[in-house]
Symmetry: C2
Subunit: 263 residues, 2 copies
Amino acid sequence: MSVDYVNMLPREARALIREGKFTKQTSGICAGYAQANLAVLPAEYAYDFLLFTQRNPKSCPVLEVSDKGSRELKFIAPGADIARDIPRYRIYKNGVLDGEYTDTASFWRDDFVSFLIGCSFSFESELLASDVPVRHIEEDRNVPMYITSIDCVPAGIFHGKMVVSMRPLAHDQIVRAVNVTASMPRVHGAPVHIGDPAVIGIRDINKPDFGDSVTINPGEVPVFWACGVTPQSVIMSVKPSIAITHAPGHMLVTDVKNSLLKF
Amino acid sequence: MSVDYVNMLPREARALIREGKFTKQTSGICAGYAQANLAVLPAEYAYDFLLFTQRNPKSCPVLEVSDKGSRELKFIAPGADIARDIPRYRIYKNGVLDGEYTDTASFWRDDFVSFLIGCSFSFESELLASDVPVRHIEEDRNVPMYITSIDCVPAGIFHGKMVVSMRPLAHDQIVRAVNVTASMPRVHGAPVHIGDPAVIGIRDINKPDFGDSVTINPGEVPVFWACGVTPQSVIMSVKPSIAITHAPGHMLVTDVKNSLLKF
């Protein structure tokens, strides 16, 4: 009998992940529950990074910050082990990818602080529920992402350009999409730009910097949202001695329902 | 000729305040512009306090955090001098009030970090614009505030009970008041409680812990919002070596329009 990951509870999925029985991408599992980006930094970087998230809430909507050294999450996933409950991690040393792991417990340090950041998976499920189509899901690709000319607001050592994700929409879908996502500020909120990619420094909409290109049909308008890749990009640019993140698409499944991210 | 403080621009008001020509409460001046609570702490406390605000966004909606040692605000009041542009300051040493000043420049230190926190003045003006009456304004009193039994989420050394403000409303005004304030999460957002004060640990609604008692007419329901006194109360309870705050009612007038706090 095949396992029904879609209707599994988050704590059940995290248990399977912790046991090494689920190591794939988490897109679509535990339907209705929010997933989160992970960024783990030594405490020496934590204040500057927390201030960066405060100053850039659309790119970096923080769902929870762990206590220093703790692998527990008290609010969005009680009982989770941050070091083990994500299917695949990346460890960066001095800004360079050092390896991928399914368990990072042996690397954990007493000075690590974990930042869990909202993910566009949450607002995509609300878009679909409101009959706004999501092209990259239709085409079974990764969302196209672009480095823009928009400067993030710097904080301490952290600075860089905003990364955006793009979803092409018909004119009569745009207002609905703005309203649905504006109501979810904890998962990137309303779009940052609608229309001409050149306005935000994107030269070729068919050549995303990350993810895959998707079809834009005649009459459709590209709509851009602040993207959770921004904080990872910004972290890597300052080359911290060590940083642990989730591997792309391999997120933390939280106990928070997407619909509750509106409040 | 009397000065028209109501229709003055914020930068004009701040200039008068800096010159010592305006030292009164700021309620009602620069109509339409947000005012902010101030809490200045040495950097050693800044990470724990910033994390406290992240974990308690309804009590501590941060509008801006200064860079360490800087008296400038880049976003909500460019050109302002944090140490001089508030009409009246309080300095606390080891949690005890040490003095009130109209200028704190001579006390400033290179390790000070300033937190500017949203203020209920902003949502009160939106309530009035939506024909929801605000009793303490009608009665020309200070808003009644109560220490509740609701624990704030602790962060590092900071912990304590949530302080709430109360406005009595008729039944047919409550839904409107919830909607108006829910749309303004950067100034405390939706109410935290509606109705029976005992549920949140308030024994006598006629004896507020801070501010003044107001009339509750037959059929009216007390409605409670998280209050910006919470962060001050929490800061004082840990007795920092030094802290500078605004004096009650003497706020920083920002360049941010109240109506833009909805976005």
